[in-house]
């Protein structure tokens, strides 16, 4: 009897262990496959030049730059909003009914399909906000067309829940005693938040920011109609006052994830450009993996420090 129970337990526990190993195995296989195939393509030239000869040769520099530009703009827009929302939720609203509804909305926002964000980007940002801005400012057709600005705004909404949730987690981890000490010294609520809570939760906020950059860099569907270009060898850069170069938010852009998509489905000969596809996939994977890994490490360190405190 006892033996039978032990065998059943052994069997099912083995099954669970098998599942975990399978998942890890999948990660290793996917990574290994892409990296072993992609490594042959990667060279300085591949990373630093634009595609040429009908995208069958050359590199992916504009796509790398475009990815960096779009995620930078995205995080500039999303981080302040997300952090502010999390501070409100955790420090002001806390457990009221409003907070419950907001949290439900955030979770729901996190589950909205990415293609729906794409539709929203077109319907709201480009056609509604953009076209009306053009009408009001008399700028012809500047805002009302697909552009870096709208693509990154769309992505910003997409990653907002990631930032809010991880920021809130970080805020929660700040011990009550620290807050009370600040109050005891005569601080107002905002002073307490600014000088005690935010500095302590900075690593957690940073983790959220990194995770959301990685998420944003990997998304394709939301930017399909909001600004990604098939071929745009120059960088989406402009000079303000004729001298300081900066990202031009009104330009379209090439993007790594989108580049993989079109190379795999629309290039003249997908078989011939396979090495380029693997190379691009490897670059994209390196970026997202690097970011994810650093976020994970940061979080582990952060949690350890909290445990010690």
């Amino acid at each position: 009897m006892k033996r039978g129970r032990a065998i059943v337990g052994f069997f099912f526990e083995g099954l669970c262990r098998g599942c975990a190993l399978l998942v890890c195995g999948l990660v290793v296989v996917i990574l290994g496959f892409i990296f072993s195939k992609g490594a042959k393509t990667i060279s300085w030239e591949f990373l630093s030049t634009a595609p040429s000869q009908g995208m069958t040769h050359g590199g992916i520099f504009p796509a790398i730059f475009g990815t960096l530009a779009i995620t930078l703009l995205m995080i500039v827009m999303a981080l302040p909003l997300g952090v502010a929302a999390a501070v409100y939720l955790n420090e002001y609203a806390n457990r009221g009914r409003a907070a419950r509804v907001i949290r439900a909305a955030i979770n729901n926002l996190a589950g909205v399909p990415s293609i729906v964000f794409g539709l929203f980007g077109v319907g709201f940002f480009i056609l509604f906000v953009g076209r009306n801005l053009d009408k009001v400012l008399h700028t012809g057709l500047l805002f009302g067309q697909p552009a870096l600005l709208w693509a990154s705004a769309t992505l910003a909404i997409l990653v907002l829940p990631v930032i809010i949730v991880s920021t809130e987690e970080a805020l929660k981890a700040v011990p009550l005693s620290h807050r009370e000490a600040a109050y005891g010294l005569g601080a107002t609520r905002w002073q307490m938040i600014r000088r005690v809570v935010l500095p302590q939760s900075l690593p957690g906020i940073l983790t959220g920011a990194i995770l959301s950059i990685s998420r944003g860099a990997g998304e394709t569907a939301p930017i399909l109609f909001t600004g990604a270009a098939y071929f745009l060898p120059r960088l989406p850069v402009t000079k303000i006052f004729g001298m300081i170069p900066m990202i031009n938010p009104f330009d379209q852009f090439m993007e790594l994830a989108y580049h993989i998509f079109i190379m795999a489905t629309q290039s003249t000969n997908p078989e011939l450009t396979r090495p380029l596809q693997y190379g691009t996939a490897m670059v994209l994977l390196s970026i997202t993996f690097g970011l994810n890994l650093s976020a994970i490490l940061l979080r582990i360190r952060f949690r350890r420090r909290l445990r010690r405190a």
Partner: protein, 319 residues
Amino acid sequence: MKSFLRLLAPLSMAACLLATAACSDSSKAPEAKNVSPAAPAPAPASNNITVKGSDTMVVLGQRWAETYMKEHPDVTIQVTGGGSGTGIAALLNGTTNLANSSRPIKAEEMQKAKEQGKDIQEFKVAFDGLAVVVNHNSPLQNLTLQQLMGIYTGHFNNWKEVGGPDQKILRYCREANSGTYVFFKEHVLVDRDYAPDCQTMPGTGAVAEAVSKDPNGIGYGGVSYFENRPELKVLAIKKDDASEAISPVGADGKPNASQIRSLQYPISRNLFVYTLGASSPEIKAYVDWMLSDLGQKVVTEVGYVTLKDQGSATANAVK
């Protein structure tokens, strides 16, 4: 707190930069990359040419842009696909300077342009043969237009009905708004509907890819996409049972230029570029260049068929 500020500082600076750009950039500041410091300040906006439209032509448009920009470093051209319909719509909306189209403009699109008081100019820039491909393992050599229609409308479902092996047919086609889809529907299906089990691929490249891996697959697309692909077999097409089968690909593996140009090959078509009548000299210059020998040379390189017999043109040049 300091470290937090340190994090926020670059971000807020970037935000400020953005804001200033949004204000100062309303005239699309001139391009930085290709301007040498000694050069006079280039005219804004007009040096930027946007090209949008046909996915079939996106590779051609991209190669044209690439070559033209090498010759004219002060011009930047950006190329986006999306389909012929998108291109023409964008031209009417004013979001693009040039519209590539693999089908002639529709009457209702012309009507819309007239209503907006816009004058659309059409340029024929190249010829293209639509090739029908099967897997290289298929014993089939040719099909009539009638059979092709039967296959794509779902009337024939087995290869043996058209003289092939006893296998089910797997149909691959393009997605609904590509010019290729529309052209094929009008000229081969005589405006009937595609069979619902047609697998729509996001690009002709994907069609080629799929057919090369499917022994029972059939697909179609611009002939240039199927050049030098040993896993694919380009079928010869007969107008009807009595007429001669013509392949869009010659014995040398290059497109069968003369047959396509003369429209003897039954599914040949023109490729078009559309502009607005009141376009800038830069755009005119670009279109003229496309039609010149240099531009047409690119057409051959990409695998399409030039407007004129390029062989005699170069011969003239040599004389």
